[in-house]
C-alpha cells in the first residue's frame, strides 16, 4: 500500500536554528498518526513542509505517491492535503454554510453561486459530521469552539487524502472534543490519512495508531501506539539529561516587598477569580497551553488589558491603562515581536527611544545615538551601528533591543510574553542570564512561556493555567518539565 503522505530526509534551517534535521515520516491511508514533541521541537515546521507552506533545504515530500515539486500550499492542496490550522480563520460576516463551503462553493449552470444550494449542501455536510450547527447562522456569532468545528467541517468538505490537525483541542471543551474525535475516526474509516499534532498524551492513546516524537528538530522515536505506554512516550518527549537545568540565582529575601498585586481578577473563559502577588526580585512564570489565559493574565498585569473584574495594584495604587502603567515602571515584551514590540522598518535608536525610554522632550541625534549605543552595550545587543534598521538584527538581538528599551525606562516590573520564541538556543540562555540579573537587581519579572525547560531554568514560582483558572502554583525549585507537562495536559474533567 502506498503511503498517503511521506517525507524523507527533510532538513530545514532558519537563521541560527536548525528546525528540522533529516526527518522522515510516513503516514498510511486510514490511520491516525500522532506527532509529539515539546514546543520548538520542530512539529510546526514539519507540518509546514508537508503541506507545502515551507520549502525544505533538503529532502523530498511525496503525497499519494506523487512527489511535491512546487512547494506551495496550492500544490499540496491539489494532491489532497487539508489542514486544520491552530488559529481561527473564519469569515465572520458570512453564514456558517458559506464558511463551510468557502473553498468548494457549488455553482449553478450559469456559473453563479446559489445561496440556497450552499446552505443545503453545507447543512448536509454538518449533519453528516454530527455537528449541531445551523448553516444559516452568522459565523461571527458562534463561540470560538464552534468556529473551530466550522473550520473542521470546511477542512473535510471535499474528500481529502491527508488531513492535518494542528493541536485541534486547544480551544475545545469536553463535549466538543468528543465531537472532534468522532469526526477524526469517521475520516480515518473513510480512508483518509490523519496527522494529529497534540500536547496531550491521553488523546494520543485514545485516537492514534502510530506516534512520532520530535526533539530539537530530530526524529527521536517512532512507534505503534499499541506497543508503548504513557511513561515511555513522555521519556522520549523530554530528554531528562538536559531538561532539568535550573540556573543559579540570588536567594530571594523573605521580606521582598510585593510590587504588583492582582486581586480577584477574572480572565476570559473563566468565572473563578485569580490572585497573583509579584515581589521585587522574583521571577514568576505563567505556564499553560495557548488559550489557557497565561497571556491574558500577563496583559492584565501590564495594563494592556483591563480585567472585567478585580483590580491590579502597583505599589498599592490602582494600575492605569498601558501608557500610565509604562510610565509607572511596568515594562512589557509582547509575544509577536515583529508586529507588537518593534518598529521593524525604523533604526535601532528609534526602537530604543520610544515611550518612557525617551526622557528628553528634545531629540538630539548625537546624544540619542550615544544613549542608544550605551544601552546596546548594557543590554548586550550585538550591533555595531545603532543607526541600522532593527530588522537586520537576529531574533535574539531584536529581543534584547526590546529589553534595552525597558532598561532605559528604568522599569521595576518586566512582563514578558514568550520572550524566547524564534530565538536560537545559545541566545536563549543569554536572555535567561540577563533576566536573572535584572531580578537580582530587584526587578520583578513575569514570564509567560510554553517552553517547560525555560520555565524550569528561570522561575522562582510557576503558575499553571488552564481555561482561565490557575490550577497549580509550583515552587520553582520543584518544577520539572514533565511535571508541568502533566499538569497542563491532564483532562479538564479530572481537575
Amino acid at each position: 500500500m502506498t503511503a498517503a503522505i511521506s517525507c524523507t530526509g527533510i532538513t530545514k534551517g532558519f537563521p541560527g536554528v536548525l528546525a528540522l534535521d533529516d526527518v522522515s515520516i510516513t503516514v498510511r491511508p486510514g490511520t491516525v498518526h500522532a506527532l509529539l514533541g515539546e514546543n520548538g521541537a520542530g512539529k510546526s515546521t514539519l507540518i509546514r513542509v508537508l503541506t507545502g507552506a515551507e520549502r525544505p533545504d533538503a529532502g523530498t515530500v511525496h503525497i499519494g505517491g506523487t512527489q511535491l515539486r512546487q512547494h506551495t500550499p496550492a500544490a499540496a492542496r491539489r494532491l489532497g492535503v487539508r489542514v486544520l490550522p491552530q488559529e481561527r480563520h473564519i469569515a465572520a460576516d458570512l453564514s456558517v454554510g458559506h464558511n463551510v463551503l468557502l473553498d468548494a462553493v457549488p455553482r449553478t449552470v450559469l456559473g453563479t453561486v446559489s445561496a440556497r444550494q450552499v446552505q443545503r449542501r453545507a447543512q448536509e455536510h454538518l449533519d453528516a459530521l454530527g455537528l449541531d450547527l445551523d448553516a444559516h447562522a452568522r459565523a461571527g456569532d458562534l463561540t470560538a469552539a464552534q468556529q473551530q468545528l466550522v473550520e473542521l467541517a470546511r477542512t473535510t468538505a471535499r474528500p481529502a487524502a491527508v488531513v492535518v490537525l494542528d493541536e485541534p483541542t486547544a480551544s475545545l471543551a469536553g463535549d466538543e472534543v468528543a465531537v472532534l474525535f468522532r469526526v477524526v475516526r469517521q475520516l480515518r474509516d473513510r480512508g483518509s490519512a490523519l496527522l494529529y499534532i497534540s500536547h496531550h498524551l491521553h488523546e494520543v492513546f485514545e485516537l492514534a495508531d502510530r506516534a512520532t516524537v520530535l526533539r530539537n528538530g530530530r526524529l527521536v522515536h517512532e512507534t505503534e501506539v499499541a506497543d508503548t505506554d504513557h511513561d515511555s512516550l513522555l521519556r522520549h518527549v523530554f530528554d531528562r539529561d538536559v531538561a532539568h537545568t535550573r540556573l543559579p540565582r540570588r536567594v530571594l529575601p523573605t521580606d521582598a516587598p510585593v510590587v504588583l498585586a492582582a486581586t480577584s481578577v477574572t480572565l476570559p473563559g473563566s468565572t473563578r477569580p485569580v490572585d497573583v502577588d509579584v515581589r521585587a526580585g522574583e521571577v514568576i512564570a505563567l505556564s499553560g497551553p495557548s488559550g489557557a489565559g497565561a497571556s491574558d493574565l500577563a496583559e492584565v498585569l501590564a495594563g494592556v488589558r483591563v480585567a472585567s473584574q478585580g483590580r491590579v495594584l502597583l505599589d498599592g495604587a490602582p494600575l492605569g491603562a498601558r501608557p500610565a502603567a509604562a510610565r509607572a515602571g511596568i515594562g512589557f515584551v509582547p509575544s509577536d515581536r515583529k508586529r507588537n514590540a518593534l518598529l521593524l522598518e525604523r533604526a535601532i535608536t528609534e526602537n530604543l527611544l520610544v515611550g518612557p525610554a525617551a526622557k528628553d522632550v528634545w531629540h538630539r541625534p548625537f546624544a540619542s545615538r550615544r544613549t542608544a549605543w550605551e544601552a546596546l552595550r548594557a543590554g548586550r545587543v550585538k550591533a555595531d551601528d545603532p543607526g541600522r534598521p532593527v530588522r537586520t538584527l537576529s531574533g535574539g538581538n531584536q529581543q534584547r533591543v526590546v529589553f534595552a528599551r525597558w532598561l532605559l525606562a528604568d522599569c521595576r516590573v518586566l512582563v514578558l510574553d514568550q520572550p524566547t520564541a524564534g530565538v536560537d538556543v545559545g541566545a536563549k540562555f543569554d536572555i535567561y542570564a540577563q533576566l536573572l540579573e535584572l531580578a537580582a537587581d530587584g526587578v520583578a519579572v513575569v514570564v509567560v512561556s510554553s517552553d517547560y525547560e525555560e520555565i524550569c531554568a528561570l522561575a522562582d514560582r510557576v503558575l499553571v493555567l488552564r481555561g482561565g483558572d490557575v490550577v497549580a502554583d509550583v515552587a520553582g525549585d520543584r518544577a520539572t518539565p514533565d511535571g508541568l507537562f502533566a499538569l497542563e495536559s491532564m483532562p479538564l474533567e479530572t481537575r
Binding site: P73, L343, E350, H363, P365, R370, K382
Partner: protein
C-alpha cells in the same frame, strides 16, 4: 545570512574593545530620504534652467518670491499634513477649511472686529475642528479618510452659504500678511519659511516628532511601549487643522477677500506635494525637507508653464504626470532595493514575511 552579520560584530567586539560609540554614520532612513530628495532638487534645477533659457525673467529674485508666495498657503498646509501622513493619518478637509476660515475672517473684518480677534477666532476654529477629527478618529476608530471627506463637503458648503456664493471683500484686514515686506522679503514667504522651519524642528528634533514616526510605523508597538497613542493622534489633527486655519487667514490676506472657493482642491495638491516629497500614505515615512521640496516643485512647474506660455488647461496634466512618475519610479526603486536585499538575506527575509503572514502561507489561497 544574518549569521555572518553577528559573527562580524562578535569579532569586532573581541578584537576592538571600543570605549565609545563608532563614528557617526547617517542613519539608513536619512539616506533613504536623501534618495527621494535628490531627484526633486535635480528636477527643480532642470526646470528652472530650461525655463530661464527661454525666458530670462524666470530666475530673478522677484519671480522666486512670486513662486514662493503663490505656494505659501499650500506649503503651510503641507507642513501639517506631513505630520498626519507620517503618523498614518490623513485629513482631506484642509482645503475647505481654508475657504471657510477665509470667509469667516472676511466677514468678521467686515463687521469691524480687530486683527487680534479675527486671528484668535480663526485659529480657534482650526483647533476646534482638529479636536473633533482627532477625538473621533482616536476614540471611535473612524477611518480619517471618510470622516474628513465628509468634512470637506460640509466646510465647502458652509463657506458658500456664509459668503452667499460671492467673495467677501476685505478692506485692509491683515494687509501686512498679504502684501507687506518683512526683512526685505515678502510677508507670505516669511510666514511660509517660518512655518516650515518650526515644523521641521518639531518633526525631526523633538520627542513629539519621533513619536509620530513610531505611531505611523506601528501603532501597536507604540502603544505597548507606553505612548498615549490616542492623545497623540488628537494632537496631530489639532496641529494640522490649526495650520490649515492659519493658511486660511493667509489666503484671505493675499486675496484681500474671503473667497468661498479659494481652498477648493487644495487638499489634493497638499497630499500630492507631501507624497512627492517622500511621505508615505501608509505612515512612518516622510521628511519636512522633502515635503517643502514637493511644494517647491509643484510651484516652480506651475510658474514655468506660465512663463513658457503653455495654456492653463495643461497645468494639472503636467503636475499630475509628475506625481504619477514620482510614485512609480519610487516604487520601482524600492522593489529593486527590496529584491536585492532579499537575495542577500533570502531566508531571513522570507522567514520574516512568513512570520507576519502565518495564515496566508499556511492555508494557501482560500478561494481556489
Amino acid at each position: 545570512m544574518s549569521l555572518t552579520t553577528t559573527d562580524r560584530v562578535e569579532t569586532g567586539e573581541q578584537g576592538g574593545r571600543r570605549t565609545g560609540p563608532p563614528p557617526y554614520r547617517l542613519q539608513f532612513s536619512t539616506t533613504a530620504a536623501l534618495r527621494t530628495v535628490l531627484p526633486l532638487v535635480i528636477a527643480l534645477i532642470a526646470v528652472s534652467l530650461y525655463t530661464d533659457s527661454q525666458n530670462p525673467a524666470f530666475l530673478s529674485s522677484g519671480n522666486l518670491q512670486n513662486v514662493l508666495s503663490q505656494v505659501a498657503v499650500l506649503g503651510i498646509l503641507v507642513a501639517g499634513q506631513t505630520f498626519l501622513l507620517i503618523g498614518g493619518q490623513i485629513d482631506l478637509s484642509v482645503g475647505s477649511l481654508v475657504s471657510l476660515v477665509a470667509v469667516v475672517s472676511a466677514k468678521l473684518f467686515a463687521a469691524g472686529y480687530s486683527d487680534v480677534v479675527v486671528v484668535a477666532v480663526a485659529l480657534g476654529m482650526g483647533v476646534g475642528v482638529g479636536l473633533v477629527w482627532g477625538l473621533v478618529v482616536a476614540f471611535l476608530d473612524v477611518p480619517p479618510f471618510i470622516l474628513t471627506l465628509g468634512g470637506l463637503s460640509v466646510f465647502a458648503s458652509l463657506a458658500l452659504v456664509l459668503a452667499d456664493n460671492t467673495p467677501v471683500p476685505v478692506a485692509d484686514g491683515l494687509d501686512s500678511w498679504g502684501f507687506g515686506e518683512w526683512f526685505g522679503i515678502r510677508a507670505p514667504v516669511v510666514l511660509l519659511l517660518g512655518t516650515l522651519v518650526v515644523a521641521g524642528v518639531l518633526l525631526h528634533l523633538t520627542r513629539f516628532g519621533r513619536t509620530t514616526f513610531a505611531l505611523g510605523s506601528s501603532r501597536a508597538t507604540t502603544y505597548l511601549a507606553g505612548v498615549p497613542v490616542r492623545r497623540h493622534i488628537v494632537a496631530l489633527f489639532t496641529l494640522n487643522s490649526t495650520l490649515a486655519a492659519f493658511g486660511g487667514l493667509l489666503m484671505m490676506a493675499r486675496l484681500a477677500s474671503g473667497d468661498p472657493r479659494s481652498g477648493a482642491g487644495l487638499e489634493l495638491a497638499v497630499i500630492a506635494a507631501a507624497v512627492l516629497g517622500g511621505a508615505a500614505l501608509s505612515g512612518g515615512r516622510g521628511t519636512m525637507v522633502g515635503s517643502a521640496l514637493g511644494v517647491l516643485v509643484l510651484g516652480t512647474v506651475t510658474s514655468a508653464l506660465t512663463f513658457l506660455q503653455v495654456p492653463g488647461a495643461y497645468q494639472s496634466l503636467v503636475t499630475g504626470a509628475i506625481l504619477i512618475l514620482a510614485v512609480v519610479v519610487t516604487a520601482v526603486a524600492e522593489t529593486r532595493a527590496a529584491s536585492s536585499r532579499g537575495l542577500r538575506r533570502g531566508p531571513a527575509a522570507r522567514a520574516a514575511v512568513r512570520a507576519l503572514l502565518p495564515s496566508a502561507s499556511r492555508r494557501g489561497k482560500p478561494t481556489d
